[in-house]
């Protein structure tokens, strides 16, 4: 699809349209001019007599000449040709009907409305989310909203270089953060320490360190030592070996980490599920449209299918589960048909192994290597 070509075609359309428009104005002006002329002749000298009929007939003749000479129709025709050219180009370069793959199943719009409202809360667009809840008449997910509200308040404060709300939150959730293996609290205190050192000077920073950094001493002595050394460069930290502690991107990184931890503690994902689902849809729709085209004659089958007959390749970021596909039967692993490890290291699904071993009575050869094994030697795998 050549966007440049499409733009050129459109420019041609716009040009023809301007041409047609100016031709119209031209003709109107000409006609108006002739009528004004006739009017002038009629009104000329009030005293002298005038043959109005002949003036009018003359006018009529002049107008019909203009009418036959005008290229108005021609320019309009050209414009129409270019308009339909552009329409055809659009239909050729783009997929004219992306709803071909849509299934007419129950797609409850109440659920969709609620999903969208939650999405707005996640993005910090609280007033838009509220507006939607009002206009759609859906019940509000107050718990979710207030959680995200709290998170955004903390993040807003951080943008204004105020770490208080963040520090409050981490100390309230200290245990859970530890379970998650996060050292967010230390990082925040470190950032705060550097801020105080920049603004307040050594004494304040030292006080801060004594109160807040000391508890981390047992596990992070080397980091504390670094920070203590920073005291020597108070006021000119950017020329010290520790200048990386002042980089503004540290704030952004920390904001991101805080968001991740916050969402994790809430039992929510980091990315908005709506964003992820739509992104997957955008990636997967071209394949589904091709499939729908191929199956165009079999509408019933399309609606009723339990599984897509072709794979839809999505990027790595959409792989949330382990899917085992048996190389022999192409069946997907399940509880009834789990993947089994053979002694040679290759993996088949249970049913394939049963078939190869004639229902577990005989030894069989692995389809990949010549190694022999029996059913008893195979171990079920858990991904």
């Amino acid at each position: 699809m050549e966007l440049g070509n499409i733009k050129d075609t459109f420019d041609r359309v716009a040009k023809k349209q301007k041409l047609s428009s100016s031709k119209s104005q031209e003709v109107i002006d000409q006609v108006g001019h002739e009528i004004e002329n006739a009017l002038a002749k009629l009104q000329g000298d009030p005293a002298s007599p005038v043959d109005q009929k002949s003036i009018l007939v003359e006018l009529q003749t002049k107008l019909s000449i203009i009418g036959s000479q005008s290229q108005l129709e021609g320019s309009q025709k050209e414009l129409n040709i270019n308009l339909s050219k552009y329409t055809k180009l659009l239909e050729k370069s783009f997929n004219p009907d992306i709803s071909k793959a849509y299934r007419n199943v129950d797609f409850d719009f109440h659920t969709v409305n609620q999903i969208i409202a939650c999405h707005f809360y996640r993005q910090g667009l609280f007033d838009i989310g509220e507006c939607l809840t009002n206009e759609s008449g859906e019940p509000e997910d107050t718990a979710l909203k207030s959680h995200f509200l709290e998170m955004f308040q903390i993040l807003e404060a951080m943008k204004a270089r105020d770490l208080e709300p963040a520090l409050n939150w981490v100390s309230n959730n200290r245990e859970k953060l530890k379970q998650n293996g996060s050292n967010l609290e230390l990082k925040l205190h470190r950032l705060q320490f550097v801020e105080i050192l920049q603004k307040g000077g050594r004494a304040d920073a030292l006080n801060y360190a004594r109160t807040y950094l000391a508890p981390f001493a047992s596990l992070h002595m080397d980091e504390i030592q670094k920070l203590m050394a920073c005291l020597l460069w108070a006021g000119r930290l950017d020329s010290s070996p520790y200048s990386e502690l002042m980089v503004p991107s540290l704030w952004e990184k920390l904001a991101e980490e805080l968001t991740r931890q916050f969402c994790s503690l809430m039992g929510q994902s980091y990315e908005s599920p709506l964003s992820v689902a739509i992104a997957a849809g955008i990636e997967g729709l071209p394949t589904l449209l091709k499939l729908a085209n191929v199956m165009a004659a079999k509408k019933q089958e399309w609606q009723a299918m339990k599984q897509l007959p072709v794979p839809v390749d999505l990027g790595r970021e959409f792989q949330f589960h382990s899917i085992f596909v048996c190389p022999v039967s192409r069946d997907q692993g399940s509880e009834e048909n789990p993947p089994m490890l053979m002694p040679c290291g290759h993996v088949l699904c249970k049913q394939s192994i049963m078939k190869l071993s004639k229902s577990s009575t005989r030894t069989f050869k692995c389809p990949y290597c010549p190694a022999e094994s029996s059913v008893g030697q195979c171990m079920q795998l858990y991904f």
Partner: protein, 415 residues
């Protein structure tokens, strides 16, 4: 300096690893991301077509005005030439023609301005599509999601929300608010059992509806006829039918006859064939018909873009594992609302194994092969090497607590 203790399944640190993997994947294969982007742009037909149809409509309307007024002026002159006007009458007549022309000029100038704005909108959208590249991909995708949401809200008539979203992100040129307003006027009237705006819309789009052999206008006229019969205005109904229904007789005789027969029945008839014609849901049917015709003329999909993309995404993501309790929170299908929507949709299919490490959430492939513990549980090489490094070669299965030495691990070969 990082405090590391091995993160387990659902922790945010693992999620961070996923994000890092995604970023790495994006950096390593930018051409495939660009390919995907190019493919996804092909889905944007509606985006370009709607403002263009709007543009065409203005052009057509302006052409018609010019034709009508010009022919009126020219025939006005012909009339004057043929009549026996006195000098004053002639002057008066010509003056009226002049002011008519002036009115036409003004209208044309205004029409020109509108056309210019619409052409600019078409161009702005082409530019927007062109502007998508590897550097601004996530911002561009964000805009796309917002566009999709605005489309949904306009179709659902949540106008305030739509406008707020448009203003907050400067989407004015990229969305079609006026087009949906135009449709809303007709739909609201139809829901109020008024056909006038719908008929006016049919008149505006007469030639195109004719080209597509649409019988929408016929259906509107039929409904008006039925309403006259319902009010027992039979004589008026017959006159109405003569004027407005008869022209459609050549192509739609059967339907015409069926509706005409209602004259013989009353609106509270029990006869099934005719009872249905009097039911209020005939108006709902008209609303649906209008939506279909409208969307077809403008090159829009009938369903909201959001539903189309969402269905595709949910189906592509749907696996039986999504519905289990231990489904990772990063999967949208771990949420009840998404699960509900995905229920009637088909599962995704894989032709090749795609395995994800429980600990790091990274793909277990030839670069990071799966390793099997003696109890059958599988983790990625990277995760287990890290664990062994920190625990003196000791491996503890995070799901079962099973303990073994790293020497007891066996490599699995998965194609």
């Amino acid at each position: 300096m990082e405090m590391e203790s091995l993160p387990n399944g659902n922790s945010a640190a693992a999620a961070a690893a996923v994000a890092a993997a995604a970023a790495a994947a994006a950096a390593v294969a930018p051409s495939s991301k660009l390919n995907q982007l190019a493919e996804s742009l092909k889905l944007e037909h509606q985006f370009l077509r709607v403002p263009f149809e709007h543009f065409k409509k203005s052009i057509r309307a302006n052409h018609r005005i010019v034709e009508k007024e010009m022919s009126a002026v020219i025939s006005g002159v012909a009339d004057a030439a043929n009549a026996d006007f006195s000098r004053d009458e002639a002057v008066h007549h010509l003056n009226s023609l002049v002011s008519r022309l002036q009115g036409l000029k003004r209208k044309l100038e205004e029409g020109s301005r509108t056309e210019h704005l619409q052409a600019q909108k078409c161009r702005a959208r082409l530019d927007h599509l062109e502007s998508a590249d590897a550097d601004n991909l996530s911002d561009w995708n964000n805009m796309r999601l917002k566009r999709i949401l605005v489309d949904y809200m306009l179709r659902m008539s949540y106008y305030d929300t739509a406008l707020k979203l448009v203003e907050s992100s400067n989407l004015q040129d990229l969305v079609d608010v006026e087009v949906f307003h135009e449709a809303k006027r007709v739909i609201d009237a139809l829901q109020n059992k008024e056909v006038a705006p719908a008929l006016a819309w049919c008149a505006e789009n007469k030639s195109r509806l004719k080209k597509s052999k649409s019988k929408f206008e016929f259906q509107l006229r039929l409904q008006e006829f039925i309403e006259l019969v319902r009010a027992e205005n039979n004589l008026r109904a017959i006159t109405y039918a003569r004027k407005y229904l008869a022209p459609w007789g050549s192509t739609h005789m059967k339907e015409l006859q069926r509706v005409m027969a209602t004259l013989a029945f009353k609106s509270n008839t029990e006869c099934a064939t005719y009872k249905v014609l009097f039911e209020p849901k005939q108006w709902d049917y008209l609303v649906d018909q209008f939506k279909q015709e409208f969307c077809r003329l403008y090159g829009m999909t009938l369903e909201p873009l959001l539903n189309i993309y969402l269905q595709a995404g949910l189906s592509a993501l749907k696996t039986p594992y999504c519905y289990q309790d231990d489904c990772t929170k990063e999967d949208p299908l771990s949420q009840d609302s998404f699960r509900k929507l995905a229920l009637p949709l088909p599962y995704s299919k894989q032709h090749h194994s795609k395995l994800v490490c429980y600990i790091t959430k990274e793909l277990m492939d030839t670069e990071n092969p799966p390793m099997v513990l003696p109890n059958g549980y599988v983790y990625s090489t990277k995760a287990l090497e890290e664990m062994a490094r920190k625990n003196n070669g000791q491996i503890t299965c995070p799901r079962t607590g099973f303990v073994c030495n790293s020497s007891a691990l066996v490599k699995a070969y998965i194609s």
